[in-house]
Amino acid sequence: MKRILPITNAVIAVVSGLIVLFGYFFPGLLSGIQSVLISWAIIIAAFALLVGVFNLVMVHWKKTGTEGSNSIYSIVLLISLFITIIVAGLSGPTGSWTLWIFNNFQVPIEVSLLAVLAIVLLYAGARLLSRKPKWYTILFLITVLLVLVGSAPLFLAGESAPLSALRIWLSQVPAIAGARGLLLGVALGTVATGIRILIGIDRPYGG
């Protein structure tokens, strides 16, 4: 059984992948099977989300009894989770109470986290030269300053045409070049990974 099960998994995965792949080349022939397989994958992914929520509850439920003083965070999480589930269940996912919780808790918290991130990055940039700066440290700092100057007009100084042109050049030439190289690498990696999975070398599903 230990030998048969991995082989069965590999066969199922390879056949499913080949059907979906050839569905692009022969849409009239394999589109039906392709749609069924995709629907199954979507349902399994939705169920995985529920499993993830259940796992989150179990982990923090165990932490409430073992973490001591830090268990307060787990307790807060569990209480918030159950309250949100109850409210969303009663008023619906787009109900007024649900939107009130969303607009007054989730949005400010996440925005605050990004605001704190902005302050921390600024602090780090100010102290960047305090510890034996290298040449690439100085280069990084100059690039940051140029992008900031070009991203918005300086207050009371207006938009500087040379700085705007420099900012546009930075965002269209070096940044785009790097992005294109990154995308090409991602594409090649995706193709290689897909081929390895289709021929059964990589088995992320186990076996």
Binding site: Y24, I38, A46, T94, L99, Q106, F155, A179
Partner: protein, 630 residues
């Protein structure tokens, strides 16, 4: 040169000695090694062949004792005499009961043919001694019997077996004389032997043989002269019964397991005796005098006193100092350290607070004051904004538009400006908004933004009615692929549980190509790439466009798709600056002071980095100068 081992003390003696030099015990008589003289005597006693023995028997007459008796040593004769004396003295001391038993034994004497065998048995003690000496090996058993016959004066020329068969049929030829002790005994007893016993009372020969075998009377096995009156009575009156021929004995059937246990005939021959004549003789210990053995003398394993080594460690003063230092370090490690008190007010915390205040206070002031000092960005300076505006503007009125809200609420400050302008433009054209999301929090975000945009549209108090929310789309890229090929199958119902695909205007939509446009609002470049790669191939040039509203961090990765030829993204708005440019293109001038706050924040950030960098450089140079001075 061979040593003789004394049979008593076990010590070796030279072969020329006749007695043990340690305990004076005779050596050569014991038979360990026979001397040549003894071997000659044995050869005289036992003739080399039976023929010669037969010739000697014919010439033998009653003469002085045979040579064998002469060769027997005195101590052996004494030993033999000690065995014979009790039987000779016994008649004088016997009681009446013992006498009757002895008479019965005499009556039940075995037949004469068994006598040679008994004689041979009686001589076993002597035969064993001779065999130990090695002289008996060459003498066959018949010759021994023949010699015994010579001693007893009988003339025997036939083999023992043949003679036995003859004398079973004939009575003994030589009548035995009645001894004097038996005559006296007969006179004193009331049993008259001469004719006193009836022939019928005489036991049969077979019973006699059985009784002889069962009876173990001393002296019964010896040769006894049987009176003629006993032999006549027993064998003349009772003729022997004819014996029936016994059937031949059939060979028994041996079972397989017993056959398997039978030792194989090809037994391993005995290993040849090792010649140890050249080996050394053990001179001490319990095995003294033996050759070819391992000496058990304890000298080989004698314990020695082990050498003594000094346990004092030789170390130098430097090594001793290092050891002491190591001990001190280890002792300090074991001491519990007092907990360090965390100071809240430190230079770093003060610097962080200063940066936060310098950054936050101007921004808050700009928003509160709703400042409009900074000019809005020009749409032409941001690629994709004008194309985005034109694609939305070209949508037919009432056309279904698929809008994906795939960004996190944390990016609301950056994204909401462009999203609000987009929703206002779409609502102005009365397009049917079909909302979908691949982020779990996108449902509430989309609903909230649509309601806000609809409430503020043209001063209406009610929300925008022409939209539907299909909710969360699980599965990531697989979900997007399913949505592109068959949105009805993947998302059959709205959040309210209504089959929106059965009513207008979505009843005309069978695939994603039937939408007027696909607008993706995302902050994640991977999500944007998944939409472009999964949904984009389904859309043809004549179908609806893909439009992107992204954050500034995703712009570098989305722009290659926009600048490709043919472009895979027909329009894009990136970041807060792109949103402000798009708003300017639409004709909406937001009066909320966000752009001035952003401008202020960027300016303050540049100043903080410059000032902080300069101060850090100064402190670093001072520190390096101090190090050089030190």
């Amino acid at each position: 040169m061979t040593d003789i081992i004394c049979p008593l003390c076990g010590k070796p003696n030279p072969e020329e000695l006749d007695e043990c030099q340690y305990c004076q015990a005779p050596l050569k008589v014991a038979g360990f090694i026979a001397s040549p003289e003894d071997q000659e005597d044995f050869s005289q006693i036992f003739p080399p062949s039976p023929d010669q023995a037969g010739e000697e028997d014919q010439d033998t007459q009653p003469e002085p004792p045979p040579p064998s008796e002469q060769s027997i040593p005195d101590w052996l004769k004494q030993t033999e005499a000690s065995f014979l004396k009790p039987s000779e003295l016994e008649p004088e001391e016997l009681s009446s009961e013992q006498l009757s038993e002895q008479i019965d034994a005499l009556i039940n004497l075995p037949s004469t043919p068994a006598e040679p065998q008994k004689s041979a048995i009686d001589d076993e003690w002597l035969t064993s001694l001779l065999s130990e000496a090695g002289a008996i090996e060459s003498i066959p058993e018949g010759e021994v019997l023949l010699e015994r016959a010579v001693e007893t004066g009988e003339e025997t020329s036939t083999p023992a077996g043949e003679e036995t068969t003859q004398e079973e049929e004939e009575p003994p030829a030589v009548p035995a004389e009645r001894p004097a002790w038996l005559t006296n005994l007969e006179a004193s007893s009331n049993i008259k032997l001469d004719g006193g016993m009836q022939p019928s009372e005489v036991p049969e020969p077979e019973e006699q043989e059985a009784s002889v075998e069962e009876t173990d009377v001393p002296g019964a096995s010896e040769h006894v002269e049987i009176p003629d009156w006993i032999s006549k009575v027993s064998f003349e009156e009772v003729p022997p019964e004819p014996k029936e021929p016994e059937p031949p004995i059939e060979p028994a059937e041996i079972p397989g397991w017993l056959e398997a246990l039978r030792p194989s005939e090809e037994a391993t021959p005995t290993a040849p005796v090792e010649d140890v004549s050249a080996a050394d003789v053990v001179t001490a210990g319990p095995l003294v005098g033996l050759r070819g053995v391992i000496s058990a003398h304890p000298s080989a394993i004698q314990a020695r006193k082990p050498p003594t080594y000094s346990i004092k460690l030789r170390v130098t003063e430097e090594q001793r100092a290092r050891v002491q230092m190591m001990e001190e370090l280890l002792a300090e490690e074991q001491k519990p350290k007092p907990p360090t008190s965390k100071r809240i007010i430190t230079s770093q915390n003060i610097f962080r607070l200063a940066i936060a205040l310098v950054l936050i206070l101007p921004i808050v002031w700009m928003i509160i004051a709703k400042s409009q000092q900074s000019p809005l960005p020009q749409p032409g300076n941001y690629p994709g904004v004008i194309d985005f505006f034109q694609q939305v503007q070209q949508l037919p009125a009432g056309a279904p538009v698929l809008v994906a809200f795939d960004y996190e609420p944390g990016f609301s400050g950056e994204m909401n400006s462009a999203v609000s302008t987009l929703l206002s433009q779409l609502m102005a054209k009365n397009t049917y908004l079909t909302l979908v999301t691949t982020a779990p929090s996108g449902v509430a975000l989309a609903e909230s933004l649509v309601k806000d945009a609809g409430t503020g549209l043209a001063g209406s108090l009610s929300s925008y009615p022409y939209y539907t929310d299909l909710g969360y789309l699980p599965g990531g890229t697989m979900g997007l692929l399913g949505l592109a090929s068959s949105p009805k199958t993947v998302l059959p119902y709205s959040l309210e549980g209504i089959d929106v695909w059965a009513s207008a205007p979505l009843n005309t939509v069978s695939s994603v190509t039937d939408f007027g446009a696909v607008i993706v609002i995302t902050d994640d470049p991977d999500t944007a790439r998944a939409w472009i790669e999964q949904v984009g191939p389904v859309l043809r040039a004549e179908d609806g466009p893909i439009l992107m509203v992204t954050s500034s961090q995703a712009e570098p990765l989305i722009r290659p798709y926009y600048e490709a030829s043919p472009s895979q993204v027909q329009g894009m708005v990136a970041g807060l600056a792109g949103g402000q440019a798009y708003s300017r293109a639409v004709g909406r001038q937001p009066q909320n002071g966000v752009w001035d706050a952003f401008s202020m924040g960027v300016t303050v950030s540049i100043l903080i980095i410059l000032i902080g960098g300069i101060i850090s450089m100064v402190f670093m140079l001072q520190a390096s100068a101090r190090k050089r001075e030190d």
